[in-house]
Symmetry: C2
Subunit: 254 residues, 2 copies
């Protein structure tokens, strides 16, 4: 046991593109996560559930109520951690999950990014519309300082901010026309999306139609109710037009 930190280093594998994609996939598709923060009242660690989306650059975005103790805690102690990735069947410990090391930054209603984040969040979690506008709710961007990916037994990777977070200029450029592009794509390419999802995913049991719900430098999301599928771009997009071109060619490629 004396040797824990040294041993821990030894079990970390060299980072691969596959590991980064697993990590990003968990972050891009999750609807909720476990937040570890330091309680503002007891100064002890606190684990709570938070509703989750990502900002265009991949930064986790949470919608929280000031009535929940974690909100005051994140303001008092911005260092926090997020566990993302839910187990499926079998041994829970054999399923991939990622521990993100973050610094919380509150985005209140007055912030210039607020409306954009609100739209982005609701496109991923439409049921949040019931309470997003209540006075006690606000967003936090959880800026990623680093991460540990556990891809199952013996598959541990340490990831950096650069591994997980997209270029800021590309993210901002894509964000600027994301809503308009999503609307256009969902209306113009409705049939292509339906056919694509049937071929791309095994997830064709959903009742609601699939729609494009997020566009980012590294790919886009398709969503049907709570089911979310991630599609990755071959090359990172640098603006809305290049993202749109890649989405259309992805949809028509299968």
């Amino acid at each position: 046991m004396q040797n824990t930190s040294e041993t821990t280093k030894d079990v970390i594998r060299p980072t691969t593109p596959q590991a980064i994609q697993i990590a990003k996939g968990l972050m891009r598709t999750a609807r909720f996560a476990a937040l570890a923060c330091i309680s503002a009242t007891t100064q002890r660690p606190n684990a709570s559930r938070v509703a989750l989306a990502t900002d265009n650059d991949g930064t986790p975005l949470i919608l929280v109520s000031a009535l929940a103790p974690h909100t005051a805690s994140l303001i008092a102690h911005p260092h926090c951690s997020l566990l993302v990735g839910e187990p499926g069947k079998g041994d829970a410990m054999a399923h991939a999950r990622i521990t993100l090391h973050c610094t919380a930054r509150q985005i209140t209603r007055e912030h210039e990014a607020y409306q954009r984040l609100r739209t982005r969040y609701l496109s991923h979690n439409p049921k949040g519309a019931l309470y997003v506008d209540l006075g006690d709710f606000s967003f936090f961007r959880l800026e990623v300082d680093g991460a540990s990916l556990n891809g199952g037994f013996g598959k541990a990777f340490n990831l950096t901010t650069a591994d997980l977070i997209c270029d800021q200029n590309s993210s901002a450029a894509i964000a600027q026309q994301e809503s308009t592009d999503i609307e256009m794509l969902n209306s113009t390419y409705k049939d292509d999306i339906r056919v694509f999802v049937q071929k791309y995913t095994k997830n064709n049991t959903t009742v609601s139609p699939w729609i494009i719900s997020a566009i980012d430098p590294d790919g886009f999301n398709l969503r049907s109710n709570e089911s979310v599928e991630r599609v990755w771009f071959e090359n990172n997009a640098t603006d809305g037009s290049s993202a749109k071109t890649q989405i259309i060619s992805s949809l028509q490629a299968l």
Copy 2:
């Protein structure tokens, strides 16, 4: 926002027997949880997944590897927190979950309770048999100092140790003959268990047979692979015989 802690108090409901049962049910049936601890290396909060069972008194029991950073962290900073309860369909925030405030106590192989905890843990998580005996694995009892139950929007309760943890004498007495009793009950009452589960649960789609997997002062667990159902006693059992009597009458009551 200045008023957060006062507002937080206002939304807490008075504790009810139903709230306690929801909380205990989450703890007694969960196979995994999110652990919030303070990193021994960075001193920042860390969220990670842990495999979970309960000790007879209801105290969460986790099996962790010294190769995972949370183990050294729990030794360095025993105050920690556990989030228990997984969301189902729909809005993740509408599903019940409990935040436990805990103090971690390591139970190494040399500890007199180790073999009992090992048996207890594997009865709940049989796939742990693959690694429980590897040299880097050990158990922690996460002694419960208090808890916050969130039963969904606007349903917040603060619970105490006494609300969640069973009497120590009864727990110890039941633990002493738990393995023998489980073996006897599963062999003698095999048919009663089968019929009981069909009537008691909607969970009759499992392929493997259901078995009794845990006996405690406040009830018992039935398990089929990863599916776990909790059955509560009408009156807390004080020893193995009174627990056994109540189990048999429960099985034959439906």
